[in-house]
Structure formats: C-alpha cells, structure tokens
Amino acid sequence: MKIHIKNGRLVDPKNGLDGVQDVFIAAGKIIAIGTPPDGFHANRVLDADSCVVCPGFVDLSVRLREPGFEYKATLESEMNAAVAGGVTSFACPPDTDPPLDEPGLVEMLKYRAKNLNQAHVYPIGALTQGLRGELLTEMTELNDAGCVVFGQPDGMLSNLRILMQAMRYASTFGFAVWLRPQEINLTNHGVAHDGEVATRLGLPAVPVCAETIALSNIILLAQETGVRVHICRVSSAEGIRMIRVAKQRGLPITCDVTINHMHLSDMDIGFFDSNCHMMPPLRSSSDREAIRSSLQDGTVDAICSDHAPVDEDAKLLPFGQAEMGATGVELLLPLTLKWGLEMQLPLIDVLAKITYQPAQILGVDAGHVSVGSAADLCVFDPEDYWQVTPAALLSQGKNTPFLGMELPSVVKYTLVNGHVVYDRYT
C-alpha cells in the first residue's frame, strides 16, 4: 500500500518541521517528505488541505481494562477510541486483574492487541508480584515479553526497602521505573483535595503532602540507586517545584501530568460531580496554574490522558463511593491544543508534549516523522470543533468532566505502520 498525504501542514516537533509538505508512504514506512521518490504511484491519496499532519500521539497511560475488567471496557473498544483520538502508541498500566506481573499475561495482551492491527500497545510491567509491594517481578522475562518499563500504579510501595531494591534491580538492566507519588497513609480514605471545596462539601481530604512526601522519598531513592525514574500524574505546585530542583541537580527524572489536572481544579466538583472523582484529586487553581506553566517551561515533559473508562453505574453513586477515573484517550489532542491556544504557544511546541517527548520517556522509537521510520501519523483539522457527548466518544467509558464542552480539533485520519486505521469519512 502506497499512500500520498498531500497539501497538509506537516508539524514534527522532533525534527523541527512546520510547513506545508507532502508525505509519501510505502511498505508501512515514510519513504519521502516534500518531493515524491522517482516512480512513486500512490494507491491512495489523502487530502490534508487545511489540516495538520503530525506524528501519531503517544499516551503514557491508557487503561484497557483487560484482563479482568471487561465490563468496563474491552481491548476492541478502547483501541478504536485511541486511534479515533490520533493515538498510535500508548502505555497501559499493570493494574489489571490479574496484574501484569507474568510474561504470559503480557504476551497475551500484546498478541491480542497486535491482531487488532491498530495502535502499538506497550504494557507497563508490574514492579512487584501482584503489585503487593513485597516480592520483585522477573523484570527481564517481562521485558522479553514486551514490557518496556516497570511501575507500581497504586501509589508508593509502603516498604521503602523493597522500593529501593526494585529500583536497584531495574537499573541493573537499564529499565526505567514509573511511580505515582502517593503516601497511602496520608491519602487515607480521602477523595478530594484538602482545601476549601472539600471543607465545604464535607469530603474526606487528601493533603498535598501525600504527594510531596512520597515524591521526596522517590527522588532520594533515585539519587541513591541511579535508576531512571518517571513521575506519573504529578498534581501539585509543590510537587512540580521538587521535580524542577531534582532535574536541575541532574537526576534522571521525567514527569507527566493529566489532561484533567491541566484544565480543572477542585472547584469543578461543583455539587458532587462524580466525574471529577479522580486520583490524584483535582487540586487548587494555583496548582493547576503551576501545571500549565511548568509544561511550558519544560519541567513537565509530557501530557497523558490517564484514560480510565468506568461503567456508568459505578459513577451513579455518592461522590466518595463513585469509582475514580475518567475516559480520556479521545480528549488527549483536543485538551492539549486547548492548553496551547490558551497559553498562545506555537503548535510545534504543544505537540511535543504528546509526541516525541512521551516516546522518549517510554523508550520507544515513535512520535516523529522521519524518512525511514514507521508511518504512524495523525491528520487533524485544527480549526474545527466538536462537542464531547457520550455518542461522540468511541470509548466504552462515557465518564468525563468535559461532557458537554466544545473542544478544538477533529481527527480525520490516523495511520499506524502505513495503514489507515481511522478514517472519519468511513
């Protein structure tokens, strides 16, 4: 299959490209940019007039809910949702049931995902067996099966010695460790940021120090062990400040934020909107401003959707009992662009946060448009708008605080390995 994408504005942050240039694809790879190779005859021409052509997006957290939670979502539904959002590579956390702590499970997930022939799935291996924080997993076996990084998504290990050992072991083989900073004793049964809103609504509160104390432990252990650490879902201004200092000291630390936390604050809970129940909790508006500006100054490396489809019944409960999480993979591009528009940033800098920068964190060759590389691309209309409604979302999860909002950009085509895996017109 030879594809010619014509008349589009090619934007590739990694290679510094931003201009109207055609892209030529053959045998799953990009074979030329600008002028066609000699004798190139396209089987299909995609007209990208007034559209942006860019690398397919890389999302650092997409929950597929398989294995174990198929009633919430299935591989098929969420893979469809991902490519509809222009996402061509993503990492999925190991908090499935059973957790991704055995090579067989990881191989099965990779195999099933591969057969769907859509986005590239990168499972995050469990750092400890059963994610119980007691025994290490067979990281090299998991790596052979397809895990590129290792994580502990439910917050910190309670036993710091085990965490230090896990970090040392991972660094032996050059694996990165992904952690969401959360001191579980301080989170306790909290469901909302410890501030005026939680006080008004009488919601059990999560103090900022639940994040920063865990973060301080992680940073000190990273320094001790030399492991490459990725901080997932940082939510507070103080947490970001600590990461900035650690980076300035030269520690190999990266971090991401979610599309929810860069746009929302605890005020959006309103009268107990359970779609705003998430962990880490939506924090104060000053935390949100810190997230937005530190994305710009580079302290925060990547934006992720933290996609977590929840079935409807699990949200029709009082706020504290409602399951946390929000659907998001289809909102990654629109909400990233919305941030860029509001901050008046060049498109090329905005797209870096969801293309090559997350790809580098994940350690995979993706997120750029280069001759010879896999043709993973997204074509979107930046001037168009759409309304977030349950019907407009392909994900099985319809729960998001952004329901009803109009968001910028409409994806027209998504290509993975040179195949059109999403076409808005069919």
């Binding site: 410890d194 501030g195 005026e196 939680a198 006080t199 008004r200 609504l201 009488g202 919601l203 059990p204 509160a205 103090p207 309103g270 009268f271 107990f272 909107d273 779609n275 019944d313 029709l316 409960l317 009082p318 706020f319 504290g320 009992q321 605080p401 329901l403 009803g404």
Partner: protein, 319 residues
C-alpha cells in the same frame, strides 16, 4: 457539566432542601416564620392538621438514627401525611441494590417526598438529581456535608431566645472537621446576618481553610468564648481517639468541655445549644446541660415545628 443549584427549580423556588449553602436569606426566614405558626399546633390537644393528607413520605435512613428519624416522622404525621420508615442499613443495600435503584423502586410506589440520611457526603444531592421533578428530597444528614433541618431548628431556637441575628456573636465548639451540623450552622448563621461566627476546636478537628466559610478560628476556648451570646456545642464521636485526632476524652473535656467555669467567660445571658445526643462529661458538663442557660430540650421541641415547615413548604412548591 453545568452545576446549577439543585435545590431550586427553574423559577428559583425551593424544590429540595439539601444544604444551607446557597439559599437566600428570605427562603430561610420563610421557613422560620412558617415554623412559628406550627409551634402552636404542636402545643394543642389535637396536634394534627391536614396539609399533607394523602401524601406519601419515605424516611430513607441509610445510617442509624433514632431522634432525627422520629422527629421527621412526628412532623409528617402532624401534617397528616402517610409515613413509611425504611431502615435501609439492614435491608435492600445489604442485598446489593444500589442507592438509586432503591430510590427508583420507592418512586414507583408513588412517593411524594424522601427524607434521606446517608453516611456519604453528597448522597442527597445524587438522589435529588435523579428523581422526577414532582418528588421532593429533604437531606436529613449526608456524611460530613450538611444537616440543614438541624441548622434551621438551631436558627429557630436562636431567634426565639435572642430575637435578632445581626447583633450576635456565636461560637461553635468541638469536632468541626467531621460535623455536618457545624457546616450547616455556619452557612445558616452567616446567611441570616450574624456578624461574628467563631469555631473553637483543636487543630486536629478543624478542616483546612475553614475560615473561608466566613468564621474566625480559635484553638483556645477561653479566648473564643469571650463576649459570646450563643454557644453551639458539637458531639464528639468515640472513633476520634482511634483515628489519632485526640488522645482521650478526658483531655478533650479539660480543654474543650463546657463547664460552668468556661461558660462564665461568655456573656451572662448566653444560651447553650447541643444537637444531641450529648456525651455528658465529654463535650459538656451535666451542670451546664441541665442548667438555666441550656436550651437543649426546647431545640428538640422546635425541631418538629421546623420540619413541619420544611415539608409543608416543599409540598406546596409544585412545579
């Protein structure tokens, strides 16, 4: 999602009573004035009036309660409504039925009004957002969030004894952090124009940024009680020692228990209130609880009139 005030209908008329927050002062005054007219009824030989005849009121108590449930039941019966008490804690929910399924089933039995108590903050809001527009929801206490009829009966009591709100200093003493009563009292007092509301508690029993609710924070009871006209004591739950909020009830009583000596620091005509049930010797000394400045039993009596007022106002506010 657009979060409109779920207590008011599109015409700004009270549809549900969920929280004191966001309700205009005239709405509160109207409830208090209506309650005045019912106090007489509760003192008559024949204590029934036919305002809610033929209406079905369901007491949905997902959390154990005796006093609040009973006063709601008495209030509904005095208005001639049919009252059904459901003790959900030992019924449908333990069989796996969800909160909203329970509500749907009762709605299908032609309920006109739900009186809801639930351990989770926001439960009454959830139900109010879910029911058909001709059903009214009264929050009888949700988690730590709100207990609006308790606050209204407290306001009624204050008005009875002090006449005006605009010249008062009011102190709320005790476990503000976990108290839905305190939150509702604060909103009601500030809405009705009390110029100075204080909260008095150790730091472990105060929620963050509580001053944003419009109160002054005191950790020292002696300072906090100076020039106070109304003292509102809160119940201290035994669990607070387990969760390390406090070392012991004895030490709590030493610093925050209301004794005659501490009461003497307030104004000589100060009144003492308590939402009940009281822990004598923990938050309040028996001498004070039974003393001449205590209005704790009148609070209970007025609670019936206030709940009658809320029910009759909601029932007459049809869309």
């Amino acid at each position: 999602m657009i979060n409109k005030n779920p207590q008011l209908n599109n015409n700004g008329v009270l549809q549900h009573l969920l929280t004191m927050e966001g309700l205009p002062a005239p709405v509160l005054r109207n409830i208090l004035d209506t309650a005045e007219s019912f106090v007489g009824v509760t003192e008559r030989d024949v204590k029934k009036i036919p305002l809610l005849r033929g209406k079905s009121i369901f007491n949905l108590f997902f959390e154990p309660s005796t006093r609040t449930r009973t006063t709601f039941e008495i209030a509904a019966k005095r208005l001639s409504a049919d009252v059904f008490n459901l003790n959900i804690a030992v019924s449908a929910q333990t069989k796996g039925e969800t909160l909203l399924d329970t509500v749907d089933n009762l709605s299908a039995m032609n309920a006109d009004m739900f009186v809801v108590r639930h351990a989770q903050s926001g439960a009454a809001h959830l139900i109010a957002n879910h029911v058909q527009s001709d059903i009214h929801v009264i929050n009888a206490g949700d988690g730590r969030h709100a207990h609006p009829t308790q606050a209204l009966l407290d306001m009624f009591t204050i008005r009875r004894y002090k006449r005006e709100f605009h010249n008062l200093r009011v102190a709320i003493v005790g476990d503000i952090l976990h108290s839905r009563v305190a939150r509702s009292q604060i909103h009601a007092l500030t809405t009705l124009g009390v110029p100075e509301v204080r909260v008095i508690a150790p730091k472990t029993l105060l929620p963050s940024m509580v001053e944003r609710l419009g109160v002054r924070v005191y950790n020292d009871m002696a300072k906090g009680l100076k020039d106070i006209d109304v003292l509102m004591m809160l119940r201290l739950q035994k669990e607070r020692m387990q969760a390390a909020n406090l070392p012991s009830s004895e030490e709590y009583f030493k610093h925050y228990g209301l004794t005659p000596e501490k009461l003497a620091l307030a104004r000589p005509d100060a009144i003492v209130m308590h939402p009940g049930p009281m822990n004598r010797g923990v938050e309040i000394d028996s001498v004070v609880a039974d003393g001449k400045q205590s209005v704790i039993l009148p609070q209970v009596t007025f609670g019936i009139a206030v709940r009658m007022a809320v029910m009759s106002i909601l029932a007459s506010n049809q869309v």
